[in-house]
Amino acid sequence: SECREWALLELQGVLEIQPSAQHLPLNAFSIGSLSRSQQEKYYFTIGYHELEGKKVSLKKPMLVLQKVLRADPIDVESSPVVLSTQYPTQVQKTSELKAIGIIRHKILFKTRPKALISK
């Protein structure tokens, strides 16, 4: 199947872009630097904050689904598509959810960020 495994980083907070950089496209700069020290111990450095996290397995795997609009009815036998819904619209349009990834683990950052003092 086309479903590759995705990584999931769980941050308990909100990522904000500095006012000075808001005019730039989102992927013009990195969010932060992710590093791995021991087996399951990870550090995520965002700006001058460092978050410590660990890799855990999800109790239940998660599918990453992407909503896709199709114009024709689906031939269920041959289609690689996972889910479809039929909306009662004038045109026979169907909206489908396509599975594009599986997530089995996450790197969970739930501790208070540590402020890094530059040397």
Binding site: S1, C3, R4, E5, W6, A7, L8, L9, L26, N27, F29, S30, I31, G32, S33, L34, S35, R36, S37, Q38, Q39, Y42, F44, L58, K60, P61, M62, L63, V64, L65, Q66, K67, P73, I74, V76, S79, P80, V81, V82, L83, S84, T85, Q86, L97, A99, I100, G101, I102, I103, H105, I107
Partner: protein
């Protein structure tokens, strides 16, 4: 975060994390699934707003519904619902006016197998089961429900012919039955559907022990009518002729109408009639589980409206068909009824919760 390198990040190394190029423009949702269902989805695909899995999982039917929380969905099992199938097929019942092989004027309200799969959130196996349970028949490529009165007519005619020609109900020759009814204008497909609904095929002509005046036609299908269906047919006739019957009168009339050799018993009417004592007489009246809601909460409400108190023996046929995911009959009783048992010798009584 569709990048495998995060997963492959080695000890004592680091990488920069960026927003993806299409971030923000995609409509993504996360769906939590059980591992076995995940495997099915990946192997075989599924369809439906409720996610269907195309086969049975662990012996249970799974048609599942998604409940949306903010961006995070959870897969929950629900029991399949044939109400929608029934209502679609009821749009145009096959009856007196359509009993001909002529092409019908329009195909609106008529559904093929593919139409039904697309319109309903049922897997193929479930659709098959649903069609069978509704006694649907495929005529001209469309799945049809036959008007009940019409089916009873055809059945009645088969029984009359059997009595007239002295045919054994355990060994009806398809050819003979079909030609007799076709002479009266009924289509062969419907006659055979009737035989299949009220009976079953017997394997070989001579096994049915039919006396014939020569060779057996081994190509001829032979049918055995189900005794219970024959009895129910006549019972239904009596029940629709009067709103209530004194039990003894009913049993007499019933047995009298039945073909010889067929034995009727009130047990056959469980789930179709209720009996109540009025003074020294017992009276029965029609109360069919088929007319009750299939949703457990509504079913129990309807039952307790009819009778505030039920004994288990009377209640059982009216709840045995209830399906709720992961809920046994005991669990349903616990949820919707209050059980009392005055003494150890008297049977338990169920009342509304």
């Amino acid at each position: 975060m569709g990048n495998a390198s995060i997963l492959e990040l080695n000890v004592d190394s680091s990488l920069e994390v960026y927003y993806g190029e299409t971030f923000g423009s995609e409509d993504l949702k996360l769906l939590e699934v059980d591992e076995p269902i995940l495997q099915e989805i990946l192997d075989r695909g599924a369809s439906g707003e409720e996610l269907d899995t195309k086969s049975e999982t662990g012996g249970k039917r799974t048609a599942s519904a998604m409940a949306a929380a903010t961006g995070h969905l959870e897969l929950v099992e629900v029991a399949p619902n044939f109400e929608k199938l029934k209502s679609l097929l009821s749009e145009r019942l096959y009856g007196e006016d359509t009993d001909s092989m002529d092409v019908e004027e329009s195909t609106s309200g008529l559904y093929t197998w593919d139409d039904l799969l697309e319109k309903l959130q049922l897997s193929e196996k479930e659709l098959q089961e649903g069609l069978k349970s509704l006694a649907a028949v495929q005529v001209g490529g469309f799945w049809r429900l036959v008007d009940k009165k019409y089916m009873h007519c055809v059945f009645e005619l088969i029984l009359l012919n059997a009595m007239q020609h002295d045919w054994s109900l355990q060994g009806l020759k398809e050819k003979e039955v079909v030609s007799a009814l076709m002479a009266d204008g009924y289509s062969a497909q419907i006659v055979i559907h009737c035989l299949a609904t009220y009976g079953q095929r017997v394997s070989l002509a001579f096994e049915a022990g039919i006396a014939s005046n020569g060779s057996y036609d081994l190509d001829s299908h032979v049918w055995e009518l189900n005794e219970r269906h024959v009895c129910l047919h006549y019972a239904n006739q009596l029940l629709s002729s009067a709103s209530r019957w004194r039990v003894d009168d009913f049993v007499d009339a019933w047995q009298q109408n039945l073909p010889s050799g067929v034995q009727a018993s009130l047990d056959m009417l469980k789930g179709k009639i209720l009996i109540e004592k009025l003074g020294s007489d017992s009276w029965l009246y029609p109360f069919s589980v088929a007319n009750l809601p299939s949703n457990p909460a509504e079913r129990f409400a309807a039952l307790f409206r009819e009778r505030p108190r039920w004994e288990w023996e009377d209640l059982e046929p009216y709840i045995s068909d209830l399906r709720a995911p992961g809920k046994s009959v005991d669990a349903l009783l616990l949820k919707y009824t209050r059980r009392t048992q005055p003494t150890a010798e008297t049977p338990p009584i169920f009342t509304a919760r």
